[in-house]
Amino acid sequence: MPRLSSLPAWFGVLVLEIILLIIMAITQPVFFSSSNISNIVRSSAIPIILGIGMTFTILTAGIDLSVGSVLAFTGILLSGFITHMPRVSAVLLSIVITTIVVGGINGLLIGKLGLNSFVVTLGTLGIFRGIAYLVTNGTTRSMDTGKLINTLGDGNFGPVPGPLLVVIVVAGLSIWALKSTYFGRDVYAVGGNEFAARLAGVFTSRVKMTVYFISALLAALAGIMQVGRLQSAAPTAGAGIELAVVAGVLLGGTRLSGGVGSITGTVIGLLFLQTVSNSLTIQGVSSYWQQVVTGVLLGAAVLFDRFRVQYSGRRKSREENNVTKE
């Protein structure tokens, strides 16, 4: 049997996900209907996209709490542009502006000036949510999104759900970037030991800046997807989602202290949370309970990870003792 400690951190959540799927398959036939599966996939796409950006920031031992607000802000921006120009241009312009403005503020303050990421992004969380309310006066703006935006957020691309395609592309690129590029390895190095990274010649402030640009870019993309899903832009969109996203990322084995984690884990963690909430809905459990369950699961995951590390650490030190005694 492979050692518990050599398995990836997300393995436990994957097992839970499979168990949950089996239980649901037996007890609730409706769960595996194509419309419900499609529903789970579509509703988990936005949290996963945000979670991938969040994984980059948490890997550097930071955090980006502004993603929910940025999602709403991008939607509002799009609603403004869309009446004045072709839809493709409106989408690109909203994404570019959001990335530069939000990524610029978060990245400069955290990466360049070394301010605390929690405080800075708590600030931008407030600012961009506030702007979204100010611009719309608190009202929801409906719009004719057209095929492109609709496909990204809700529709199908051939036989494949559009949001699923977005997730596959973004996750694939991110996995590759983290594993096989200098930048990706720098992300792990900065989170694992910032001083060591600096001493090895890594431009740590640049790496930290970049992850907030990535997070802003993906939050903007999620904002467009949200508009495509709802055919409207609301200043309330994505309120509070950042905490659910952080929970999913942590469930997937990424450590808040940085340096350890994976995109695969994040995808599985967020998919699991979505499956749980969907299952509870089908079982007829109140949505209030879903938050309680999410909290309990998060606590359980962190506890499990602690035991896993401790167990392997103890075994290792025993083995070392045995070796030296022989």
Partner: protein, 495 residues
């Protein structure tokens, strides 16, 4: 011949503090050059400037005769200068191979980093340093001295011809030091210029080809190996020679048993079945290599480290497991890591000193009473400070340690345990602390001194305990003891 590196008139200020005032250093190819000086003399700062970690305010650096200005670590590295810092600077959860090539030296293939080739190259570099390990393993799975070799491997992988080693031996056991020195000599013979900082006199004299001494942030002297002796170095490093602490005669003839540790085993597997006694008025040294379980043992005695089984008995009474219970029973610990475990940096000297007596009933406490307590200790221990309300971080390491010892003594303990209490403290303050311990023992306190420095163990102990791999392997009386006895017990060698 031009020097590989010459630094001239280097000056550096940190706010109002002068870290360096016109310091110089000349480095030849193929030499081991020791930078000697007390803590705070500016050695580390000088190395950091040469490594591009910090920038000097003034002064010139020339490589092979041509002047350079470093823009950062990367720039210094590209000119062949690498530093292995005092704290291990590895990324613990990344692989060995990756740590060797950290900083964009991994092999780049068509689709990003080529891990197979990177790992192959890592094995080659590590072989040069006599290290045979699996490059895919997490670097944190290696013992500490091998992790250090990984850092040196990183410098070699970057084709460095100037290697800066900041206290590379501070946490190594004698056999590990020997292995490191073998590598250092090998690199020197290959033409690498090596600068080393060490606090161990014997090591400096063993390995160095040349010496440069700094004192009070200034250049003092430089010399080749010939003619350099321990006295030569001390004379230049220290302005006022430390006095040898005097061994005081014991007042009580029949020592009373104060502390009994019975069959103690911890939960993490760091040590097992440890039993020993401590008598009134004696100083017992606890020797051993890093990782032998000494810190875990003393922390388990005071309830900081979870135990599996065993008892702690003070004056015949079994003590509970909590830190509060052990404190009330009269055991006090000065922990091994001052920064992490004992001082609270932002708090004042006064608050740090009074921290352990916060549990006293309110009516026993008064501002004037507390001021007197602080004043008495400052006076008794000759703590050098501007005023008691200054942050403790404004004190030198030695004076901070005196505050911590005073804090422990204010709880009126029967047993005082000190874990690596003089690590990183300069010679003068060290001698003062030894003197304090002697006086305390003469007053009847039982003292346990954990130390990795054999000279310290020999200087201060009446009796020596030795640990190896979690076992107590020797209990030796000071009167008939050889250095080799301690070393063989600490390394687990059979006689």
């Amino acid at each position: 011949m031009t020097n590989r590196v010459s630094m001239l008139g280097i000056t550096k200020h940190f706010d109002a503090v002068k870290a360096l005032q016109g310091a110089s250093l000349e480095l030849h190819a193929g030499e081991v050059h020791t930078l000697a000086g007390e803590n705070g003399s500016g050695k580390s700062t000088l190395l950091k400037i040469l490594a591009g970690v910090i920038r000097s305010d003034d002064g010139k650096i020339a490589i092979e005769g041509s002047e350079v200005v470093f823009t950062g670590v990367r720039d210094a590295m590209s000119r062949g200068i690498s530093m292995v810092s005092q704290e291990l600077s590895l990324v613990p959860h990344l692989s060995i191979a990756e740590n060797v090539f950290l900083g964009h030296n991994q092999t780049r293939g068509k689709l990003g980093i080529d891990w197979r080739d990177t790992e192959k190259r890592a094995v080659e570099v590590l072989k040069r340093l006599n290290l045979n390990v699996n490059p895919k393993d997490e670097v944190s799975s290696l013992p500490q001295h091998e992790q250090q070799l990984v850092e040196i491997a990183r410098a070699m992988a970057a084709n460095s011809n100037v290697l800066l080693l900041d206290e590379p031996t501070s946490s190594l056991a004698p056999n590990e030091v020997a292995a490191l020195f073998k590598v250092v000599r090998q690199l020197r013979d290959e033409g690498v210029a090596i600068v080393m900082i060490s606090h161990r006199m014997s090591e400096m004299l063993e390995i160095s080809d040349r010496f440069t001494v700094l004192r009070d942030s200034k250049f003092i002297d430089t010399s080749t190996r010939d003619g350099v002796t321990e006295d030569w170095l001390i004379e230049r490093m220290v302005l006022n020679k430390p006095k040898k602490a005097i061994r005081l005669e014991k007042s009580n003839a029949k020592p009373e048993l104060v502390l009994e540790v019975k069959g103690m085993t911890d939960r993490a597997g760091a040590f097992q079945d440890i039993s020993f006694n401590l008598y009134q008025g004696e100083i017992v040294g606890l020797a051993g290599l890093a990782g032998a379980g000494r810190t875990e043992l003393v922390e388990a005695i005071v309830g900081l480290h979870p135990r599996q089984s065993g008892d702690v008995v003070v004056s015949g009474k079994t003590v509970g497991h909590s830190t509060r219970a052990t404190m009330n029973a009269g055991i006090a610990l000065v922990p091994d890591d001052r920064r992490e475990k004992s001082t609270i940096h932002e708090m004042s000297i006064r608050d740090n000193l009074l921290l352990a007596i916060h549990g006293r009933p309110q009516k026993q406490r008064s501002k004037s009473g507390e001021e007197k307590i602080v004043a008495d200790w400052v006076d008794k221990f000759k703590i050098k400070m501007s005023n008691p309300y200054a942050p403790i971080s404004s004190l030198s390491g030695g004076n901070q340690q005196k505050v911590v010892i005073a804090r422990c003594l204010e709880t009126k303990p029967k047993v005082l345990i000190l874990d690596e209490a003089t690590r990183g403290i300069d010679l003068g303050a060290k001698a003062e602390i030894y003197q304090i311990l002697r006086e305390l023992a003469a007053e009847g306190l039982a003292i346990l001194v954990v130390s990795s420095e054999l000279s310290e163990i020999f200087e201060i102990s009446d009796r020596v305990l030795v640990m190896h791999a979690g076992d107590l392997t020797a209990d030796l009386d000071r009167s008939n003891i050889e250095e080799s006895d301690v070393v063989s017990a600490a390394t687990g060698a059979k006689k």
